[in-house]
Amino acid sequence: MKVSLTFKNRALFWKFLDEFNFISSCKKYNLGLWQCPNFLFLIMTIITVIAMLTTNYIAQFYNDEAVTIFSVSGITVLIMTVGSFVIRGVEKIAEANIIKTEFISIISHQLCSPLSAIKWNLEIIETERDGEKRLSEKQLLFLGNIKKSNEKMLKLVNDLLEVVRIDQGRSVFVKENAYLEPIAREVVAELEYIRSFKNVKVDIEVEKDLPKVCIDSKKMKMAMENLIGNAIKYSKDGGEVKIILEKKGKNMQMTVKDYGVGIPKYQHNKIFEKFFRSNNVSKYRTEEVGLGLYLVKAILGNFDGEVWFESEMDKGSTFYVSLPAVKS
């Protein structure tokens, strides 16, 4: 215990020191030192302190009004100049952020058409009615593989686009009163291929006479796909996932529990951040991008809902979703 605490404190100390490592911050933003707001802010602070001391010095030794006015004006101009550099640096970061968002949006939109074309053309092949042209079992198996890979790509692109839309306030939420159970069952059915691949047992426990909730079913499905999908993906082979739907006071609660890899405690506060992937999780699943839980939180926020979790390394994670129940 003592060893781990010392390690934790040391890690925190280095993290604190790292906050002042302006060179690495500037590298992260891909900006030169004189364009980097962090560095310029430090320079501005130094100038301000020097200015205060100099003004105090001048006031003590020179009783000449013109000298005081001249020195204060000079320092003000200097601070304003550095300030304008800070603003330009911040603008540059903001601009880069806009370009990045637009880039993601354009690429994702461009990818949607070919991916949809693959999906629909596969559907045509699958539903071939001509007996002679029917595919063999083996061909169907490979066709199934293409379909799964395509679905994976479509999900990634759709998640990326949804993140951009939510961030820009351009996402469509068509709310209606609906039950959570059919959505949960649909999601579990769609995740069957991952479940069977890992031989994970998925149990759905539903309390009787549950109320409806006010949601956009499509977006709720997206959130559930991420929560239930994660629970299955990060379960150990042959493991178990429990989904519980119940009423808690005035709210509907959904619990998704797995007994998988868990999330390290020191990363708990980052779990809902965009593009965040926990260290141990990235060892198990290399193809994920870390948008799922960010989306879950953003989507639930639109329904006045909440999401939180408990997790322990190598013991598993439990995610809770709470939504206001609709009065019947």
């Binding site: 949607c112 074309a117 559907e123 045509i124």
Partner: protein
């Protein structure tokens, strides 16, 4: 099924691989599929073929889906159901299409051909 043979569906889509799949699906379901690769061709075929339903993309060459929709709603065939089929799912796109009189809005990446067929049947009743 005989009733369906008479139904004409105009597919305005500039991506040939998407259009081929839709046309094939419609033909398999005994609809008469007419295709157009740009907005202007779509409007021409609307006049000559008089379809019972239109599947319309938004990003199109020559005239985009909004312009086509606007002209449809101003013309004689303003009551023909127009089903938007696009990948632009942003709120302003959905709102604009619905304000211009689109019957429904479908996102290509979310919809299977079976789902699209369901919407077509629903709107041809």
């Amino acid at each position: 099924m005989d009733d369906q043979v008479k139904k004409k569906i105009l597919v305005v889509e500039d991506d040939r691989s998407l259009q081929n799949a839709i046309v094939e699906m419609l033909t398999n379901e005994n609809y008469q599929a007419i295709s157009a690769l740009d907005g202007e061709e779509g409007l021409e075929k609307l006049k000559t073929e008089k379809p019972d339903l239109i599947l319309l993309d938004i990003i199109l060459p020559k005239k985009d889906g909004y312009e086509v929709l606007e002209e449809i709603k101003k013309g004689e065939q303003k009551n023909v159901p127009v089903l938007i089929l696009t990948n632009l799912e942003e709120v302003e796109n959905v709102q604009k299409a619905l304000d211009l009189g689109a019957t429904t809005f479908m996102v290509k990446s979310d919809f299977s051909l079976k789902d699209i067929l369901g919407k077509i049947k629903e709107n041809l009743k």
